[in-house]
Symmetry: C5
Subunit: 102 residues, 5 copies
């Protein structure tokens, strides 16, 4: 999985039937030092992730594993909202700390 | 999924039988700031996307999820025409606005 | 799918049993402006594509969708010989024109 | 598979149900000369790999092959802890040697 | 498929059960001009490829197509030892010639 930050939303009304009822987020990938990369994904969201939160993105057929997603044409899905990322015991990211700074 | 702009069409008459009846679009990927990338896809189109429209592209096995596409050798499909892309509440793209400017 | 030009052939006699009977082409990818990229694929060929022709390449599990290819370890297949590529109504490539110039 | 070094951990409490019970490691990819690359993966861990160990990462649907992982939305899994990497009979990496130097 | 040269071996004793009995080779990718790329794969080997040989690598689910490999977590497999690569009728590689020069 990759780490990404929720940046916004994508809306499409004219789409293939299998795309109906999917909430689409624009998420931007984050590198191993916590910086935004010039790389994004439009990912399906089942868990209500909000703008600026860090999330875990599963890609490929993994994006359709969750029950109810099998017949949706998803190649990327938000599978979790990240609480903490620790690298060698140092916190690279803490959701609590990030929210405190807002 | 990735955001792309429809740029043109690809025609192939001599092809494997499973490719019959697929309309092929040349779509060029768009980055997270709304600029064209030097990267494209030849994608199957089921929804009649037109030149210059922004579309959502599903890749990999996701490209064959829609009913009727399962036995086509597609690794990229147009799954929706994009109405709006919003990044932190600002509009990166609006189909209405784009059409007004044509 | 990606656009590629047939450049040559690859021969392998000592191989896994599932690879038997596959004709292998070396195809080089072409960018959205019609130039060769420093990127290639060794692709299975079912349709008899010839050197210098432009072809469509399907990758991933899409490469094994065609009837009879399901149990071959292919991750890239030539699925069509390209007649024309049009970008905003201009011809980026025309097979007829390319042959006339040879 | 790719070679990676375990760098840390990722914790997510609010996630899709299929993600429950997965231990997530942040692993950073290593190049063919043994150097860390600016590229990482958040990978599921079944074997208890520890920080600084070199591991093998399987990606894509391969990440869900192990019994019990089929219905988890994993696109990357630690499938082995590496003992040795030899390139043309020279040791690029030896776990024993690495531990001796700690 | 991609062309790669066998460079060495990888050994892992502590691994997931599905990884048992797989011989792992470190193979380095080769570009369309026959030069080594700074890109490698740890690939399963069923055919006994030796150091310095050029091989064909299948990736993704194609790596598990060969009978007996379906339940192994492989995302890359050596599917053939290459005899010749010809580009526009010139030999880019010949196994016989390579062995004569050793």
């Amino acid at each position: 999985m990759q780490i990404a930050q929720v940046r916004g939303t994508v809306v499409s009304t004219h789409k293939v039937p299998s795309m109906r009822g999917i909430k689409l987020l624009l998420v931007q990938y984050i590198d191993e030092e916590g910086q935004l990369l010039p790389k994004y994904e439009v990912a399906g969201d089942l868990i209500g992730a909000g703008v600026s939160e860090w999330v875990l993105i599963s890609r490929g057929s993994a994006a359709r594993i969750e029950v109810g997603q099998e017949s949706k044409p998803l190649d990327a899905t938000v599978v979790g909202i990240i609480d903490t990322v620790n690298v060698e015991r140092n916190a690279l990211y803490s959701k609590k700390e990030a929210e405190r700074l807002l």
